[in-house]
């Protein structure tokens, strides 16, 4: 078995030695966002290149350009000096580029074998499948990975980690010259991470180009050779991993000005009495979560995606059923059966996914601002239009929402303005909101608007409201929240005060095993 691998490796070495991938001056805009601006870098064979950046820095867009899923507005990608024009993903695959996305592109109802071959099944000229060949190759790949997976098992029956590994096997099977991993370790356990890293090392020795997207610095130091840092769609710098350190990377990722943003905030200094107490909250996704929130306090939730932060606030808000535990609001034990009850009790939730859960996209700004208070706008039988207009205008003024009219469909606004519409919705004077929950409010929003949103959070705290602030961007949580709660795998793994919190401390708690 091992010998066979050797043979295969040496054959491939001939083909991919001295390979280069050049990304030259790539720009891509989406309505309202410049996702990539003049990004250029070069990757050479036998090296692992890290793409590093915060959420929204343009890493995913860049991968989509490489995989032929979207076409850049400007610039080109060159392999071995030859410009590549990808009109469809299949052309990128043929050119030897495989991208392993975070959202798994697998088919649950099909077998592991077929998923490994996804769309590229070997067949005779008449179109008959070569089943034996498929089985042999699949078994060999699985044993190369050192995993115990039945190749005939339906993919949907595998664990998430194994599904992720099958996704990687797909690219391995294609024998691509260039393989890009988009946060591959997000759902893997330690054993599988070890297997993956061994595999990446082997691919590297085979002379392939590996692109590795992650924001886990430890991993990047462990396996990459070079690092490209992206920020707000621009390339900040290209570094050698051996010659840099975490501090330099973080500085490059976050940029210089962000520290000033935080110090310029007008914060709240008087923290009041207890507003919300959560005791041993348990649902399907979270276990034994307890914390306390005071009036005028911002409590930040940190942790990796999927750590259970969203589930905690959804449970408090009555959107998910609670198995056991207590929620005490203003000294009274409450149990909300549906979000409506929570809203009436003075809680507001700005959900994680603006598009799917926050906005009614094809309705006007006015409808979106007035959404929770329509009931309070009855004038006899009908809804009072003037009241709605007044309320919306107030919100637009308060948060300087840039919209040409009240009637503008909210889908046509930029991400930052959409978020402000949601904030305006929950802070109108018709609602007696005591506690505001914001789940990833700065996702996909430009730096300027981010700063505005930070100030809005602090202002809300100054008004004496309680604020729960969930974010995956560490610097943000550490610098905005008064208390930081770190979660991992459905459990609270630590609570820190702002003065004590550092990225290292929070990260080590978030990745606790």
């Amino acid at each position: 078995m091992a010998q066979e691998t050797e043979v295969k490796t040496s054959v491939m070495n001939n083909g991919s030695q001295g390979l280069t991938l050049e990304v030259d001056n790539i720009s891509k805009s989406f309505p309202g966002v410049k996702a990539l601006q003049n990004v250029s870098f070069k990757a050479t064979s036998g090296k692992v290149l890290a793409l590093l950046g915060e959420n929204g820095a343009g890493k995913s867009t860049l991968l989509k350009v490489l995989s032929g899923d979207i076409r850049p507005d400007e610039g080109e990608v060159r392999i071995n000096g030859v410009p590549q024009k990808f009109d469809a993903p299949v052309q990128a695959i043929q050119a030897g580029v495989s991208v392993i996305y975070q959202e798994r592109q697998l088919v649950p109802s099909m077998s592991v074998i077929e998923n490994i071959y996804c769309g590229d099944l070997p067949s005779t000229k008449a179109g008959i499948l070569r089943k034996r060949e498929m089985k042999q190759t699949a078994e060999k790949i699985i044993s190369d990975f050192g995993l115990d997976i039945d190749p005939y098992e339906k993919l949907g029956r595998l664990s998430t980690a194994h599904q992720q590994m099958v996704e990687i096997m797909k690219a391995y099977r294609r024998d691509s010259k260039i393989i890009a991993f988009d946060e591959p370790t997000a759902s893997l356990t330690d054993t599988e991470v070890t297997i993956l890293f061994d595999l990446i090392k082997r691919l590297k020795e085979e002379g392939k180009i590996i692109l590795y997207v992650s924001h886990r610095l430890a991993e990047i130091f462990q396996i990459t050779d070079e690092i490209v840092v992206l920020k707000d769609g621009r390339m900040v710098k290209q570094l050698n991993t051996a010659e840099t350190n975490e501090a330099e990377l973080i500085k490059a990722m976050v940029g210089r000005d962000i520290g000033d943003t935080y110090s310029a905030l007008k914060r709240n200094d008087k923290i009041g009495d207890v507003l919300l107490e959560v005791k041993n909250l348990t649902t399907d996704a979270i276990h034994d979560v307890s914390f306390t929130l005071h009036r005028g306090e911002i409590v930040g939730f940190a942790g990796l995606v999927g750590a259970g932060r969203t589930e905690v606030v959804r449970a408090i808000f009555g959107a998910d059923p609670i198995k056991s535990g207590e929620v005490i609001l203003d000294g009274e034990t409450v149990h909300f059966k549906q979000p409506k009850d929570a809203i009436e009790a003075g809680i507001a939730l700005c959900p994680e996914d603006r598009k799917e859960q926050g906005l009614i996209r094809f309705r006007s700004v006015q409808d979106n601002v007035c959404l929770p208070v329509f009931q309070k706008m009855k004038k006899g039988l009908i809804l009072d239009r003037k009241k709605q207009e007044a309320l919306t205008e107030k919100a637009i003024e308060k948060y300087s929402i840039r919209t040409p009219s009240l009637e503008k469909l909210v889908v046509e606004l930029s991400g930052g303005n959409q978020q402000k519409v949601i904030l305006g919705r929950w802070t109108s004077e018709l609602l007696t909101t005591k506690l505001l929950i914001l789940d990833e409010p700065t996702k996909g929003i430009d730096v300027g608007t981010k700063a505005e949103i930070y100030q809005i959070l602090c202002d809300l705290a100054r008004e004496g409201k309680g604020v729960i602030f969930i974010s995956s961007e560490l610097p943000e949580v550490i610098n905005i929240a008064d208390t930081i709660i770190v979660m991992h795998n459905g459990h609270v793994t630590g609570t820190l005060a702002r003065a004590d919190a550092t990225e290292e401390k929070v990260m080590s708690l978030a990745m606790l095993d």
């Binding site: 592109q105 088919v107 649950p108 099909m110 769309g119 099944l121 499948l129």
Partner: protein, 326 residues
């Protein structure tokens, strides 16, 4: 080893369907012993050959992620067309081929609305259904058209051993399509398409092309089914095939084909599901229940199939969740 073999069989959907079918058989047999008479079984085979043939095309289309509610109407039109062609003195093979070609065209019209105009397949094919239906009545002026051609009618009425020819045609088609789904590149691509459209796109599979082919295929098979029915009845009736697409759909869903793509099923499972549906309908006739109950059972069985599928799916999801945690 033998333990896991038994486990595999009992986990198999076809197995549980077969058990239900035997229960249904016994139930009707106890009420009326004629249920097990030879000619009654011939009847079941004959009726299932109609919905079964349509189910082949429909199931393939559903697996690729679309649906055609006009399959029954295309069948009606097919039966009428073949009768008209024969009356015009055409050779029966030519007439049959032409009819199937017309079916392809009707399928392509459906595909046009869905793939080019981007309308929802449900609503656009249900609209096309009334159009095809009306066309069938209009061209026949609402009369049945008699078929005299002997060679052609033998295709519908003949027997090989105890099996009626239409039934054999259905089984042969099922085997061919079953092999196609399981053993060819195209078949697997088709299922991949319905299972995860994004994955298919990233792998360079053209979803529109595949569903267009499957629409055409479904139209062709439905027209053929209509023609075979016309041969069996010695005439082409403009309303003969109505409702068969419901049975076909029910059988496909019972067999595990999901509505919005993603579910797959072997033709064998669909075959068992089909016999089950038809045995049930036939049983109702044998025990002399008012024939209008067929409307009720048709809808009722479809809803029942959906409910069973729902519980099976939610149980599977639950097991998966727990499995992942442990």
């Amino acid at each position: 080893m033998s333990g896991s073999f038994i486990k595999r069989i009992t986990r198999n959907k076809a197995f549980s369907l077969a058990v239900i079918m035997i229960v249904i058989w016994l139930f009707f047999f106890l009420i009326n012993h004629n249920y097990f008479a030879g000619e009654n079984f011939t009847g079941i085979m004959n009726t299932s050959s109609l919905s079964g043939t349509i189910a082949i095309g429909l199931a393939c289309l559903m697996m690729s992620g679309s649906i055609d509610l006009s399959a029954g109407s295309i069948g009606c039109f097919g039966g009428v067309l073949v009768a008209l062609f024969l009356r015009a003195g055409m050779n029966w093979i030519l007439a049959l081929v032409l009819t199937i070609l017309c079916g392809v065209v009707m399928g392509l019209i459906n595909a046009f609305w869905v793939n080019v105009m981007k309308l929802m397949p449900f609503i656009s094919t249900i609209a096309m259904s009334s159009i095809y239906q009306a066309m069938a009545v209009i061209v026949t002026k609402s009369n049945d058209i008699a078929i005299g051609e002997g060679a052609f009618t033998r295709m519908g009425t003949g027997h090989i051993g105890i099996f009626p020819v239409p039934f054999i045609i259905m089984v042969v088609l099922m085997i061919i399509y079953g092999l196609m789904l399981n053993y060819t590149r195209f078949g697997r691509r088709l299922i991949l398409c319905g299972g995860n459209r994004t994955a298919a796109r990233l792998a360079g599979i053209n979803h529109q092309k595949i569903t267009t082919i499957m629409f055409a295929n479904c139209g062709a098979i439905s027209a053929l089914a209509g023609a075979i029915l016309a041969a069996r009845m010695y005439n082409g009736g403009p309303r003969a095939v109505l409702g068969a697409e419901m049975d076909a759909m029910t059988a496909a869903i019972m067999g595990g084909v999901s509505f919005l793509g993603g579910g797959t099923s072997g033709m064998g499972t669909i075959f068992v599901a089909l016999l089950l549906v038809n045995s049930f309908n036939n049983g109702l006739q044998v025990i002399k229940v008012n024939s209008f109950w067929q409307f009720v059972t048709r809808g009722g069985l479809l809803i029942l199939a959906l409910i069973v599928d729902y519980f099976r799916e939610s149980r599977r999801q639950k097991a998966l969740k727990q499995g992942a945690k442990v």
